[in-house]
Amino acid sequence: MAAVALTPFRNVAKTKRNQAEDFMKKVYGSAAEALDGLLKDGMFIAAGGFGLCGIPELLIDAIHKAGTKDLTIASNNCGVDHFGLGILLDSRQIKKMISSYVGENAEFMRQYLSGELELEFNPQGTLAERMRAGGAGIPGFYTKTGVGTVIAEGKDHKDFDGETYILERGIVADLAIVKGWKADESGNVIFRKTARNFNVPAAKCGRVCICEVEEIVPTGSLDPDHIHLPGIYVHRLIQGQHEKRIEQRTTRKKEA
């Protein structure tokens, strides 16, 4: 904490030489390769995306092909029928969902009402903050969201300055699967428009995080002030083609 004598720094030439090859270690050839060794029946996965916007399509597909079962998945939504996380519903790979809204998915409803699927509803902001907190080493935080509703049942209540709040827990997932726009080889990720959404908090709460992007660029190509998700959060990276399906195509006519 005291002032420090000026010291030379590590060998700059060495740094430059090793950098490219070292960071390349995060880049995998495919979603299946990136998932290798990380999947286990019964595991807890946090998934990014909102509706079908910014969802990790390639990783979901690879988890489907891997056949991993009894998954608990924290994700704001559960895709739609036969797309996004809906694929893992079709194949009965999901045991439990932690979500805020599941209205777009008939198969989800069928499995839920028949008791095949567990569902824990979280208010959307509580879910986002639980992920952010888990990633930030915060095991619990107080919020007014849900006080006096079914969400508050069984949770600790505490008054601060005359108002009542409930305790919500941070989430730490075994694996986070997220989708970015561009990443550099060191794992720095930038997102595009509203496709950022849950991808940032989901990535942060994973013990391991795999990120799929549309383009991987050489380290040094991205402005360090533009990074939305620093490389420290991203352990494995893949690049691939995304369908990016639109859920509600709303438009207006061009004026004459």
Partner: protein, 208 residues
């Protein structure tokens, strides 16, 4: 009696220049058509956007640019994007001046129910619980009665709550009511609606 558009137009009168506002799905979305001249508001979308623009022109839809209803939208000049935890940080932190939301039931103490009908399909609360808990002022826009003619403005909600004591003002097809000490206070009657009609259609206590 007001129709959907008149209710939306009346709700738009609640907006003040420079405000950041969240509009729910349904009638609240229509409010954006009636923002008064000289009033500029920035619309927040829970999925991570301030400054929702109009729907895109045909062929210009961007799958990376949607609102909380999952509809394709456009950006405005002042738009910023952020992640979901940041989005709800500003909602929970009281940075949004007003939310205008739909409702199934409202009670005289400001309780709101708008997310769940037991025994029916439950789709989830989405961001509604966070909005009513965090936003500075909550205005509800809804029909005063249900299809069976029963009041939706109640002494106490019968449906599972979205939030407790959260509603500030209720705008219905019959008029405008404020949640005050002891019950609801009539602020305004819709065109052609008498005070008696409003009182008759209201189960909640009306005071003042």
């Amino acid at each position: 009696m007001w129709d959907r558009n008149q209710m939306a137009a009346r709700a738009a009168q609640e907006l003040q220049d420079g405000w950041y506002v969240n509009l729910g799905i349904g009638i609240p979305t229509l409010v954006s058509n009636y923002i008064p001249e000289g009033v500029e508001v920035t619309l927040q979308s829970e999925n991570g956007m301030l400054g929702i623009g109009p729907f895109p022109y045909e062929g210009e839809e961007d799958p990376d640019l949607i609102n909380a209803g999952k509809q394709t939208v456009t950006a405005e000049k002042q738009t910023s994007f952020f992640d979901s935890s940041e989005s709800f940080a500003m909602i929970r932190g009281g940075k949004i001046a007003m939310a205008i939301l739909g409702a199934m039931e409202v009670a005289e103490n400001g309780d709101l129910a708008n997310w769940m009908i037991p025994g029916k399909l439950v789709k989830g609360m989405g961001g509604a619980m966070d909005l009513v808990a965090g936003v500075k002022r909550v205005v509800v826009v809804m029909d005063h009665t249900n299809k069976a003619g029963e009041s939706k403005v109640l002494k106490a909600c019968t449906l599972p709550l979205t939030g407790q004591k959260v509603v500030d003002r209720i705008i219905t097809n019959l008029g405008v009511l404020d949640v005050v000490e002891g019950g609801l206070r009539i602020v305004e009657l819709a065109d052609g609606v008498s005070e008696d009609e409003l009182r008759t259609a209201t189960e909640a206590t009306i005071v003042g």
